[in-house]
Structure formats: C-alpha cells, structure tokens
C-alpha cells in the first residue's frame, strides 16, 4: 500500500509501467515513470509523438490501468478501486480540458459547463447557476446561451476550462489545450488557466507539443520513449524558456537543445 505525504503532493507515480498488446505486437508505452506533481503547480509533459504523454495522463486520470508500479492521486490509488468507485472519484476530483474541446454541440455553453455538476448529482437549477458564474469568470458571462458552434475556438476552450473547474476539482488534466488555437488565443487561454485553475492549491498537468507555452510551466517533464528523461525545474532553465517563448518556437527548441533537454 502506497503511503505519501498528501499535504503537498497531488500526484505520485512510482515505477509506473504500461504496455499495449502482447507478444511481437506489444508496444511499451511507459517504462517506469517516476513523477510527483505538487499542489498549486503547473506541470507540463512534453516530448515527441508516441513518447507516452497521453498514456501517462490517462493513467494519472484513472482512465487507463497501469501494468506495474504505483500511481496515486491525492493519496488514492485508482487501481485499488472498483470501476464505479473509480469513475465517481474521477468525476469529483479531476477536471479535463481536451484538445478539441469536446463540448456537446447541442447544449448551450452554460449547459456544457454544468455537466460535471449534473454528473455529481447537483440540481439542474443550481448547476446552471454555478456554470454561469464560472463563465463570467472566464469572460463569457454574456455567451451563456450560445451553442458551441456559435463560439470561436478560443471561446470554446474557455468554456471547456470553465467546465473543468465548475465542480471544484483538485487536479486539472489538459491534453494539448492550445494546439487548436492561434498563438495569441493560446497565450490568453494559458494565462486564464494559470490564473484561474491554480487557485485553491489545485494541481495542473498539461500535455503539450506547443513550445510557445512552455514558459507558463512551473516544471516541465521531458518524456521520450516512455520515460521521463529530463525534469526542467530550475529558475534559470525556465527563465530561458520563457524568454525564448516570447520570440518564437524555434528559439524555444533551440534553448531546450542548448540546455541538453532535447536529445
């Protein structure tokens, strides 16, 4: 049984392994991940396609079972829970922001935001009321009745962020939150995430390819071939990244290469 200091740590992974398929077709997605995500921090998982980022956040979010090792979210190991218990715990503890927003197209912005509360059994009137408050916080108070198709990409992502926060989760998991957005909109979304999502000591885990937003991270875990090969956490390294991000992506990648963070 895994024992962690829950006071400061949101997510702990020790020796997490995960593979798909068997025999000759087996693909090893995670090869012994060692990771801690602290409360109140923004952790980014970066790396090339196929390095295991999505598998790792799926394991952290309790969506996938890992094959070996231990992974606990606020002291609870998903693998020790039954399916129903796991689903309910995930619904109460974790908020999600997806790459393609995943808003229900036939529901209004307020109704979309209210979904996590409805899932957790809130009354419809109460859920919609709180949803409208969240939309106001993300600057969409006047678009509560709009359908997703009537919103821009940036507005849709802000609705998704509001949805991820409405039920006061302690962990937010974001999968490529800015890849479908232009640079300026992506920057605004990240500012919003960092501003709103990290309140109340929430932890934020972001999977991203987008080097333009590396500068927002408190720590960056560089992954490659199912392992975390580098943890960027010193202020100097992060400062370099933030400066480079102001310029362009190429500069960021160059900075990462220079610091030995990219092999």
């Amino acid at each position: 049984m895994m024992v962690v200091n829950e006071n400061n740590v949101a997510v702990v992974c020790r020796g997490v392994r995960k593979s798909y398929g068997t025999g000759g077709a087996q693909v090893i997605a995670l090869r012994g991940i060692e990771l801690e995500v602290r409360r109140g921090e923004l952790m980014m998982l970066v790396g090339p396609s196929g390095c295991g980022k999505t598998t790792l956040i799926s394991v952290i979010a309790g969506i996938l079972d890992h094959d070996a090792g231990e992974c606990a979210v606020f002291g609870r190991d998903f693998k020790s829970m039954g399916t129903r218990e796991r689903t309910i715990y995930r619904g109460r503890t974790i908020g999600f922001v997806f790459q393609s927003f995943n808003l229900l197209p036939t529901l209004t912005a307020a109704e979309n935001v209210a979904i996590p509360l409805l899932i957790n059994g809130a009354e419809r009137r109460v859920a919609l009321g709180k949803a409208k408050e969240l939309l106001a916080q993300v600057g969409l108070g006047d678009r509560c009745a709009a359908l997703p198709g009537q919103l821009s990409g940036g507005q849709q992502q802000r609705v998704a962020i509001a949805r991820a926060l409405v039920h006061d989760p302690r962990l937010i998991v974001c999968d490529e939150p800015t890849s479908a957005l232009d640079h300026e909109t992506g920057q605004r979304v990240m500012e919003l995430l960092k501003d709103v999502a990290l309140k109340q000591e929430r932890a934020l885990v972001i999977v991203t390819h987008d080097a333009r937003i590396f500068g927002f991270a408190d720590r960056i875990a560089k992954m490659d071939d199912g392992r975390i090969v580098k943890m960027i956490e010193s202020e100097d390294e992060l400062g370099d990244l933030r400066s480079a991000a102001v310029m362009d992506t190429a500069a960021v990648l160059n900075t990462l290469e220079t610091t030995g963070s990219l092999t």
Binding site: L64, R84, I88, G91, L104, E111, I115, P116
Partner: protein, 382 residues
C-alpha cells in the same frame, strides 16, 4: 443528466426524425394490420352474434363455419325437442338462392328461413316494417345497407332496392316487406330473411334442407350436459354461440391464409421497426462516441449512461409510436367509413405499444453495449 440525454438526441435533427419515422412506420404497420385482422375476425362471427337469441346451435357435425352449408335430416328437430333440458327448439334454413331483381340483374343471396311460428333468429335491428310482416304473403326482408350496393338496381333505373319491390327467388315471386341493419359480415353476399316454410318452398328440392336447430336450454339445466345429450341422441354437434363463433373464426382464418398473411405483415412491422431504429440509433451512438467517452471521462458511470440511452430510446419509441398509432387510427376511420374491416380494440394499442417499446430497447442494445465497452481514453484521440 436527463437534460443532456434529451438534448443529445434531438440536437441531431435528421437522425432524430429518421428514428421517430422508423418507429412510427413500424407502429402504423403493426397496429393497422392488427386492427384490420381484428376487423376480419369479428366479421367472421358477426351473423352468429347477431342471431344469438338461443343457447345452442345444433348442426351437422361436419359444419365448420357459419357459411358451410351441410343440411341435416328434418327428424333432427324432433329428436332435439325430446332431449331433457331443452326448453324449446326451432328450425332455421340458410342457403344460397338465386335472386333476380327488378330490371333483370341476378345476384346469389343467402336466404335465411325463420321458424314460422316464432320468427326466432331474426335480424338484430329492423329499420323498416315489423318482423311480423315476414308472415305476409311472399315477404322477404333485405339489408338496408346491401340494398344500396349489392342489391342496387342496375338495369333500367339506378336506385336501391326498396320496400314494395317485387323480386324473383329461384323463379318464385317475392316482395320486399321490410329492411334491417346487421353487423357487417366476412362474406359479402346479400342476406335476406323469410319464413322457414317459404324458404323450403323456394329452395331446390332436396332430401335434407334443415340447416340449424336453435335451442333454448331450460332454466337450471346444465348447458354442457344438454350439449352432450344432443350429441349422443342425434349424432349432431351442439355448440354454444361462443363455440360456434370461435370455430368459424378459427376455420376461416386458417383456411383462407388470413392468419398467416397478417401474421407475416405484423412480424414484418416489428422487424422493420427493429432494423430502422436499431441501425439509426447505432449510427447516432457512433457519431457521438467521443461525446459519450467525454461524459465517461468526466465521471459518468455506465449505469448513468445506460439510463440516459434508455431515456433516449423511450422518448423516440413513445413519440414514434404515438405518431404511428395516430396515423393508423386515421386510416382506420377512412376504412370504416368505406365499410371495410377495421377494429382497433384496446388490446391492440396496448400490446402494440409494449411490443414497439421492446423493439426499440432491443434496437438500442447494440448501441448501449458499444458505449458500455467504450474506453474513456478515446477522448484523448484527436
């Protein structure tokens, strides 16, 4: 989450309409065909029910339905009257006779001859004249409805046959003395009533002419016992009104293939509903798989997802069934006004509704199974 379920369903308007239309068509097919079948079934025994003044029908044991003319020997009447428990027994003639109308057109009619003394077994509703008028010379009663079509004069004048008209029955003069209304029958030949002796006088000369003996069971006597005794003493079958009705219905439904044909159509209705609803609903699920995955990732349990999908299926089933039933009712009203067989008894919409709803739930099963098996990890695939 009911709100989410309903909005997911109706938001995709084309699929929603296709779903509802598929169920509505199946419901229309099922209830309309069942009602037409029910109408036919009721028409088969209509004359028996209209004539149900006695307790028993005595007839040759080879008779299978009410238009199956196999006459008995005249002595059967006396034998039946001699059975313990029989209060009274009267003869009835029924057979096809050739009728020539004014103007010369000919029609084959079923002529029913009632007991001269009592006129037992007459039509249920006399609309012109009195039943006793049948005792007048050469008198016949005709159906008011049939007078307007099957007995309509076509040569010379174009009008319904009416009281006072002279007709010829097997080359014997007859006069229309009255009219009646009766339930619509399965067989469409015209029906005429006269007295038993007159019918025998008009009928072709045969040794056996007695078609039925109508029997009233004495008060306190056991009907079953009287039936058995009649069977033993006469060799004839003695059926209650209900038994005769059921036998006729069963015989005609199976002999004509009506049962099989309508059964096939009704089953086809279910199959069509199942296929259309199932295919459309499954497509709806596939199109929304990522959204279902999103809901599961956000904490929606399989139980809740299944309840949502059941709600969607029930909504589609209810609306579709309502529309189909409404259309069947309108179609039925049109059929009835044209005098065609259609009878929607209360069992049809109830059983049809249960059947259609089960059909929809089965149709939704594939989609539900797909969503239950769905890995929430799908949400991370772009």
């Amino acid at each position: 989450m009911n709100l989410v379920a309903l909005k997911m369903l109706v938001g995709d308007k084309l699929k929603y309409i296709a779903l509802v239309a598929g169920v509505a068509f199946a419901a229309l097919l099922i209830t309309q065909q069942a009602s037409i079948f029910n109408g036919f079934s009721l028409q088969i025994g209509a004359w028996i029910r209209d004539t149900a003044v006695a307790d028993l029908w005595v007839m040759d044991d080879q008779v299978m339905f009410d238009n199956d003319f196999k006459p008995m020997s005249d002595t059967a009447l006396q034998k039946v009257r001699g059975v313990d428990g029989v209060k009274w027994a009267v003869p009835m003639y029924k057979n096809y006779l050739r009728v020539r109308l004014p103007g010369g057109s000919m029609v084959l009619s079923r002529v029913i001859g009632l007991d001269d003394a009592t006129l037992t077994g007459g039509p249920p509703e006399i609309t012109s004249g009195k039943l006793a008028d049948l005792r007048a010379d050469r008198a016949v009663f005709i159906s008011e409805d049939q007078a307007k079509d099957m007995l309509r004069l076509k040569r010379g004048e174009d009008r319904p046959l009416r009281v006072g008209d002279r007709i010829s029955i097997n080359d014997n003069d007859a006069v229309v003395a009255g009219t009646f209304k009766a339930s619509r029958e399965f067989f469409w030949d015209p029906v005429m009533y006269t007295t038993y002796s007159r019918a025998l006088a008009w009928a072709p000369r045969e040794r056996r002419v007695l078609m039925y003996v109508l029997v009233k069971v004495a008060q306190g006597a056991d009907v079953r016992a009287v039936q058995e005794t009649i069977r033993e003493k006469t060799g004839m079958q003695a059926l209650t009104n209900a038994e005769f009705d059921r036998r006729s219905t069963r015989e005609l439904l199976t002999r004509t293939g009506i049962l099989v044909n309508f059964g096939i159509t009704i089953v086809l209705g279910f199959v069509i509903g199942l296929l259309v609803a199932g295919q459309t609903f499954y497509t709806f699920v596939l199109d929304n798989l990522k959204l279902f995955g999103t809901l599961k990732a956000m904490g929606t349990t399989n139980g809740t997802v299944l309840r949502m999908m059941c709600l969607q299926v029930i909504l589609v089933g209810s609306i579709g069934y309502g529309l189909g039933l409404g259309a069947a009712t309108l179609a039925g009203m049109t059929l009835q006004s044209a005098g065609l067989a259609f009878k929607m008894s209360w069992q049809i919409p109830v059983i049809g509704g249960v059947g259609v709803m089960c059909c929809c739930l089965v149709a939704g099963l594939l989609g539900m199974a797909r969503v239950v098996r769905l890995e929430p990890g799908i949400v991370f695939k772009s």
